[in-house]
Symmetry: C2
Subunit: 209 residues, 2 copies
Amino acid sequence: MAETTLSPRAAATRQRILDAALVEFAANGLAGARVDEIAARADANKRMIYAHFGSKEELWLAVLETAYAQKRCEEHALETVNLSPEAAMRALVRFNLRYTAAHPEFVALLNQENIHRAAYLKRSAEVPALYSPLLAALGAVLERGQAAGVFRSGVDAMQLYVSILALGHFYIANRHTLSTIFGAALTTEAALAAREAHCEAVVLGYLRP
Amino acid sequence: MAETTLSPRAAATRQRILDAALVEFAANGLAGARVDEIAARADANKRMIYAHFGSKEELWLAVLETAYAQKRCEEHALETVNLSPEAAMRALVRFNLRYTAAHPEFVALLNQENIHRAAYLKRSAEVPALYSPLLAALGAVLERGQAAGVFRSGVDAMQLYVSILALGHFYIANRHTLSTIFGAALTTEAALAAREAHCEAVVLGYLRP
DNA sequence: CGGTCCGGTAACTGTCTGGTTACCAAATGG
DNA sequence: CCATTTGGTAACCAGACAGTTACCGGACCG
């Protein structure tokens, strides 16, 4: 990004474009998204999109990076060091499900990226920073729990990390097909609470020594 | 589908179109897929696509139903009644991961469907049959294990079903972003075996009384 | 207070793409 | 063997879409 100092209200337009693009890309995918629609929703003009971001694909990349950055930002707010290993693990599982549920656009973006074999993400300069803080926190909690004898040993932190993400992500990502099949709403607070309890039980049940 | 009897070699063309469409849709999504490309890959003509299926979207629906049907078909081959509850549960978890890994196009299709809020799936006449046999088998295994005292009680079969799907599906669906982030291949036989062991350990660890 | 520069607008274009139409060839069956 | 049906081809079209170009108005600075 050419962060050559800044701009007065231009930054606001840029932000409106990013917000609008997030909605449009999440709703229609990269190929399905319409640049005109993004411009209209941002209450801006197509010209401005090409001025701020060079192309539709670069806009996509910018949206991706913004979404990742926001998630990392919220994850940093998680404080697990003061909690018992079990409570900390619960907090991690819960945060993941709740964040995913609160930001289904993030899920849609990720799915799109994977359809494109992460082609855009691989071009991102921020990739190294993508190691989620959640992973680091998880490793620390795991070690504490094992040292205290409340967690089993032989747990692969990376595998568990993927599994925790999976438990929340899949539920939200596939909420439409799942709710069609099961004929039940999945995103009501009651349903989310039930899912949350289940995810905690699975992870903590597994981790018992 | 107008299965008015059948057709001699027309069925072959129809099948080639379906196969080509599956590849193209999985690779590019619904909006990103090009009808011309499908025609070329099927070694057929665009006209034939519109003769057999009325539109791009109806072709999409046909591909979806075919993919679901194939999965159900393979699932039926799973025999869990002769196995111990633990072994049967392992088999279910393993089958799900392996099937997903062997058919990443299915995952791509599902993701696309969810981006479109399952709009096409809801129009499908086959939806009631979508209750996967895997779910029925899971419920039976769960009951047997609980009766035998080897599984904990209070397990919600639907939640567990979603979780088992999630453990395999998420890993495969996000293999590109995950392998970019972790810098490791995820679909080698070694990696799949490790994932398989982990998934079994999570589910069976959770289910311990 | 006037000029210049920057954020913004609107109309345009070349290309791509889903869908169609006019035409053909090879079976099939009488 | 001829006629009719059916699977297949290729050229075409209208609309849509990403990306551009020509132009404007107000803020900011001298």
